[in-house]
């Protein structure tokens, strides 16, 4: 699975508009009401004169090129200390370290900005240290226009991460968190363990598709998308003997994604509620050693309800946001009971975050995640439960708005069965708290 680095604040947009980070972000990547409107209007607001500009006989623009390329760099480094050395080998007694230092953990080259007066976008290339790979990350090209009185904004876009087109940070694809859950599971030391998450949250970079949306009176957002598998990472467009791998597979046909949200702003406050969903058909290639596409199809229906409250004051910024996601998974009869004990499973995820920053220099974050679901011994091992629960406690210091130091402690209360690498690799006395992690991190963009 490709590790995605949230686009955070995008320096090329600041260069294009001449606006400081705080115009668009409370604290990156969370968007202010202005930042949401900048994105919904296609990233086209510019205060730079074009270097090249031409119009036709109707005074319509035919070409527009900025006088500077919209390039930027995002950089993230971490030091992790695990409560117990992660089981990085199935061999009993193998030596493992309880710390790692990644400099960088990830970094991205990003090209972003207005392409014409109605078209803008960004292309992000990210290096991921744990996997040692460099690949295409979040990518989007957006056309947007609006009525003269601004009551209607409409747009069409193409992107590769369902939900990343959203403007509220309460959706899974556009998270507020920088560093949480970056420890054992994404560091590649987890021996194949993975936390269960709703299916549509894992499609970033592995799919592509168009979206059309409308935004009415700065309050109502309606969007509809449809995604197809991309030939990328482990999610391949075809399954043949050379592409089969455990955990891989492909989206079958087109998967619809939809989104509705309502925002109300008053004073320093902004609040929104929303719903998003995706229906996906997926052909897994999880049968190790099988050399032909068996044609099995699993079906996933994910529905997510989200909210965000934001106070963006003169000195204090506060956010309380989160989502509840319910997933129904229906497995191909040919895979039951060998790979799934049940023909259908459900998964419920709560993800709630609160942040506070003073003068945008000092801040704290609390994140709570709880997942429960149908017990499935064949899928999850042990007692079959896919449940887990953890909290993230974080304090931040931003000497400058584009440089951020974080200290974080991840507390795991529940990590059941094969999701816990200590259980999966038969460590003695495996406990959820074995996964607790202290993180010291640096993030910057320029």
């Amino acid at each position: 699975m490709l590790v995605s680095m949230p686009a955070q604040a995008v320096p090329p947009f600041a260069r294009q508009t001449g606006l400081a980070c705080e115009a668009c972000h409370t604290i990156p990547p969370e968007l202010t009401p202005f930042g949401r409107r900048f994105k919904l209007n296609g990233y086209t607001l510019t205060t730079r004169p074009p270097l090249v500009s031409d119009i036709d006989e109707h005074k319509k623009n035919t070409v527009w090129l900025s006088d500077l390329p919209g390039l930027g760099i995002l950089f993230q480094a971490t030091y992790n200390h695990y409560d117990r050395a992660p089981p990085d080998s199935a061999v009993p007694g193998a030596k493992a370290q309880s710390e790692n230092l990644e400099f960088p953990q990830q970094f991205s080259f990003i090209a972003a900005g207005a392409i014409s007066d109605k078209v803008g976008g960004f292309l992000q290339m990210t290096y991921d240290q744990p996997s040692g790979t460099f690949g295409v990350d979040n990518t989007e090209i957006r056309y947007a226009d609006h009525s003269q009185n601004n009551d209607w904004v409409w747009g069409v876009l193409f992107n590769n991460n369902p939900g990343n087109q959203d403007v509220w940070n309460s959706v899974a694809a556009y998270p507020t968190l920088d560093f949480s859950n970056q420890s054992l599971w994404s560091a590649g030391g987890a021996g194949g363990a993975a936390l269960s998450s709703p299916f549509f949250e894992g499609l970033g970079g592995l799919t592509a598709g168009p979206t059309a949306y409308i935004w009415y009176k700065d309050s109502l957002y309606l969007g509809a998308s449809i995604y197809h598998a991309a030939v990328s990472g482990s999610l391949t467009s075809t399954l043949d003997s050379t592409n089969l791998s455990v955990g891989g597979g492909t989206l079958e046909g087109w998967a619809p994604y939809w989104r509705a949200a309502y925002e109300h702003d008053w004073g320093y406050n902004s609040a929104s509620i929303g719903i998003s969903g995706m229906y996906s058909k997926f052909t897994p290639s999880l049968i190790a050693g099988q050399t032909l596409d068996p044609g099995y199809v699993n079906r996933y229906l994910d529905i997510s309800y989200d909210w965000q409250y934001q106070y963006n004051g003169q000195h204090n910024t506060f956010s309380f946001l989160g989502r509840y996601t319910h997933e129904n998974a229906e497995y191909d009869p040919g895979l039951v009971p060998t790979f799934y004990s049940n023909s259908t499973n459900h998964l419920d995820e709560w993800n709630v975050t609160g942040t506070y920053y003073y003068n945008r220099h000092y801040g704290a974050l609390v994140n709570f995640v709880r997942t429960t679901g149908t017990a499935d011994v064949a899928l999850n091992g042990g007692t079959g439960s896919p449940g887990y629960q953890y909290e993230v406690l974080e304090v931040d210091y931003l000497p400058w708005f584009n440089i951020r130091f974080i200290m974080q402690y991840n507390i795991y209360n529940v990590v059941k069965n094969n999701q816990n690498p200590f259980f999966l690799l038969n460590a003695t006395n495996p406990r959820a708290s074995n996964n607790n992690t202290f993180v010291f991190g640096l993030w910057m963009d320029f």
Partner: protein, 215 residues
């Protein structure tokens, strides 16, 4: 569920088609060249200013001043200051230095005309009449023994503004207080206002806000 996919695809196509149709319908009458220096005032307000100050000059967030009914000469002078980076309070730097950097004199005049012609915001009754009365006294008479001039001299009897001195009636309370405090500390440079505000206490600023909010 194949039907759901087809329906979604149709919705995407329909919105895309409708967007194109609306755009083309507008293209015949509205010319929107992307060079910011060639945008007229209405387009500038629609594309940029309105995102913070509202299309009619009435901002939602007190981070941004209400511009509806503002004195045009004041809007012009401030935009020129922003353009030449001659005003350096934090919000001027964060927001207006960038927005104003490529504005032409003609655009500045046009934007000033646009916002000054919008209906001004009316004040509301005070919830603390005693404090408002104290503010009224200070506003109308100043405090000669402390060398504090009456506000009416520059801002008019009802806070409506005089010549190029700004309208302050109907302004967001928090914005008003912030600016007064920044004048006092010198963070927002203005010799006259610094001279006046450095003698004002926090309580007196609160009283002035309470009074001007009724206008």
């Amino acid at each position: 569920m194949r039907r759901l996919a087809v329906v979604t695809l149709l919705i995407v196509a329909a919105i895309a088609l409708a967007s194109t149709a609306v755009r083309d319908a507008q293209a015949a009458t509205v010319v929107v060249p992307p060079d910011p220096s060639t945008l007229d005032a209405t387009q500038l307000v629609s594309n940029a200013c309105s995102k913070c100050h509202g299309l009619n000059g009435v901002s939602t967030s007190p981070l941004f001043p209400i511009l509806a009914g503002q004195v045009p000469g004041y809007i012009e002078s401030e935009l020129r200051l922003f353009r030449q980076r001659g005003r350096s309070d934090p919000h001027a730097r964060a927001f207006m230095w960038g927005i104003a950097r490529a504005l032409t004199d003609e655009q500045i005049k046009g934007v000033a005309r646009y916002f000054s012609s919008q209906p001004a915001v009316k004040g509301s009754e005070s919830r603390n009449p005693a404090l408002a009365d104290k503010g009224k006294l200070l506003y109308e008479n100043g405090t000669p023994e402390r060398d504090i001039e009456a506000c009416t001299v520059c801002h008019g009897h009802n806070g409506e503004g005089v010549n190029s001195q700004p309208r302050i009636a109907g302004q967001h309370r928090d914005y008003f207080v912030l600016e007064m405090v920044q004048f006092r500390s010198g963070l927002r440079e203005n010799k006259v206002m610094q001279h006046v505000t450095e003698k004002l206490t926090d309580d007196e600023i609160a009283a002035l806000v309470e009074y001007i909010a009724t206008k």
